[in-house]
Symmetry: C2
Subunit: 492 residues, 2 copies
Amino acid sequence: VTADRSPTTLDPDDWEALAAVGHRALDDAMELLEGVAEGPVWRVPPAEVQRALTAPVPRTGTSLEAVYDDVRRLILANPHGNIHPRFWGWVNGTGTPVGVLGDMLAAAVNPNVGGGNTVPALVEQQVIDWMKALMGFPPGASGLLGTGGSMANFIGIASGVYAKAEVDLRDAGIAGAPRRMMVYASSQVHSSVDRAVRLLGLGAQSLRRIPVDEEFRIDTAALRLAIEEDRSAGRHPAVIVGTAGTVNTGAFDDVEGLADLATVEDLWLHVDGAFGAMARLAPEVRALTTGVDRADSLAFDLHKWLYVPYDAGCVLVRDPDAHRLPFDVTPPYLAPLTGGISAGTWFSNYGIELSRGFRALKVWMSLRVHGTDAYAAAIAANVAQARYLAERIAAQADLELLAPVPLNIVCFRYRPSGLSDEAADPLNRGLLIRLQEEGTALPSHTLVHGRFAIRVAITNHRSRYPDFDLLVERVIQLGREIASSERSTVAS
Amino acid sequence: VTADRSPTTLDPDDWEALAAVGHRALDDAMELLEGVAEGPVWRVPPAEVQRALTAPVPRTGTSLEAVYDDVRRLILANPHGNIHPRFWGWVNGTGTPVGVLGDMLAAAVNPNVGGGNTVPALVEQQVIDWMKALMGFPPGASGLLGTGGSMANFIGIASGVYAKAEVDLRDAGIAGAPRRMMVYASSQVHSSVDRAVRLLGLGAQSLRRIPVDEEFRIDTAALRLAIEEDRSAGRHPAVIVGTAGTVNTGAFDDVEGLADLATVEDLWLHVDGAFGAMARLAPEVRALTTGVDRADSLAFDLHKWLYVPYDAGCVLVRDPDAHRLPFDVTPPYLAPLTGGISAGTWFSNYGIELSRGFRALKVWMSLRVHGTDAYAAAIAANVAQARYLAERIAAQADLELLAPVPLNIVCFRYRPSGLSDEAADPLNRGLLIRLQEEGTALPSHTLVHGRFAIRVAITNHRSRYPDFDLLVERVIQLGREIASSERSTVAS
């Protein structure tokens, strides 16, 4: 084979030497994951690492061995943190060792899963079919894997807007619609929905935010009134976005009620189930997702509560024609022939991307190796841990729970008696920064009723109960230290 | 460590056993790549493989060993084909072994590169800075890695539309613009531009296709007239999309001329350089890209002519504020604090995705290991191969070259004297299907001046000169066989 190589190939002269580095890298990767609990969750990138990452683009190559040493020193030694059992920031999933093998193999096979009659495309189709089954969507629905919930929300909302339009939006654009099209969502809806409504050319004026009840669920009666009001004012109610698991507190809208309303009012129902949709897998919390299977489109991530490595999300759309409508373009160079490689499914007609990586493989391998029962158990464990944490917080005089905990998100703060709201905000901001920078645990933050909250979102199959005990203890310690140093500063 | 695991973790009980499968998989992956030339380029997915890929979602798990055996049998044995030296379909890059290691390590570290003060984010920033240097963009420009050229085009065009709008599109939407905003591109522009203009809510009516000259380059004088005409008619000329390497034939618009026109007329210049922008790396063809460094935004793929595994693309935008304008949303749960992990760059404000995989690592490792000189050589070799193929075709009486070959794309057909255009189309369609299905070589197809063309696009670092000889010989053989069997069918 070697004699026959292209003289300018990027393949190695010595495959065994390259593989040897690969085997070292694989061992190091597994060692990193097996021992991850021993180190800090995250640390500020050290100055020498930052410096090393400003070198100019190299004209000449460096040996793979030397480059890999840099990868170890700079990157493996400084992960983002979400592989650690005490990372609970935003809603970042943990990843799995099986997923690592999946992504390695995907890069080797290296298909463009944009379309065609290929086995990688069949694997993606099977994964989509599995997702339909898990979410209660009919076999005739369509779907697509993508980078995550943001893109899945974009696709679902686009499909709804185009399907409900009174003109052919593909030709005339939003300016051609006789009435302003309206999208409805709760005040707690994820920011990717704001971005999607904006980018589709509707603008923020087309997104109407409906108030929530005390459990952060959309007020369906207020939504009904808003729809009526918009109709009376000459606007065009088109899409309802329900949320199955809000990013702030894990609240579930009454999706069943939204589905009834959408049916009566002839609106499209899109559901953002970024992490919450996966609660369907766990009998303990499945009831929260009631009605999700009635959505016209459903968005969810696989790198969150299916724990596959970044990135992987999924959108399902009940009506494949509606799904295609905003996206399909078939120029001559993409028109399928009656045979050969082009005679297959063209996923590129169901989303923005024409070139599409083989993210289906890690999902396929993960589901086959673990089975859905293992996911159900891991998800249920995360929910139980959130409840445990909420109870621990409620039992501490100096801590305050800031929102109900329906699923896997706990919002709280350090607030001993006598500390005002105004003083609690900066204290808890400083506390969280210290907690993160010392590497003990990594919650993120949000505002709940306008107040700064330490926010723990558990989509982590490595978390253990003692990790939450440690969090509670350390937050109280840090809170007392900060409060006392502030008192002494004031006194001095 | 083991005693301390979460009882529901998806980590293995036995890390060594998992790693053993990983080592096997790595060896198999390298063997696949090293020996890929020996097998067919692609084959129709066998019926038993198709059947195996319709099993329902598994509730219980299967051993990794058994699942991996299925991966080998079903998937490694049936790749998409673009890793093979004789795959020249669409513009699919080859991938590299170094990229395989990069994606494995990225999945292990598993960061969400949406944002924050993390080393993976610094790696992506360095890769973006490298891309600015390679493309002649100023250090102060912004950029983003993403899934590919389609998304990069979407981002660049969105930035242009929002920057040039007469109202705040974020609020009012496209319907709020007082005049129809117009986007200009040649008739040869890539379909992802059609899709982007549509999805931004402008609609096809806002995309004006300008004729091309005999070398498939935009007619800049016709473009100037179209802009004047639109202004007179009360429309709002906003964005010019130039193409550096058209998908059909590899033609380059006069980007320098477009930049002059855009400056004079106050339009945004976006350049789609999906593969062609990389010609800047090779001195032999660098002149074709003149003016690309003057674009307001530039889109290009890294999985095409930088040969990294799928998926990876890049957009650069000269003005970071314009880049952010369509995309940024900062809800309380994403607002950076003054320290801790959130106090870094938020790439999510520069594109659709909030969750973002670590595709920067494979690019970083590849550029460091190979250096840009090696890419320059591989790119130049592909260009030389395209010229060689064009000469071979021109020298064959029964073959016809259908378009000039400025770069790496060759459009041709089998057309012996006496074969009409009407008869040549179905004959060449059938020929291409047979060529693909027998696995000899994998060009794709297009239309050139309305006629079916066999299209060879070379972004393949494994291709060797004899591969093109084989293509020419086999196309002539197949053409003769088909023509003769058609004559005998007619005769019988």
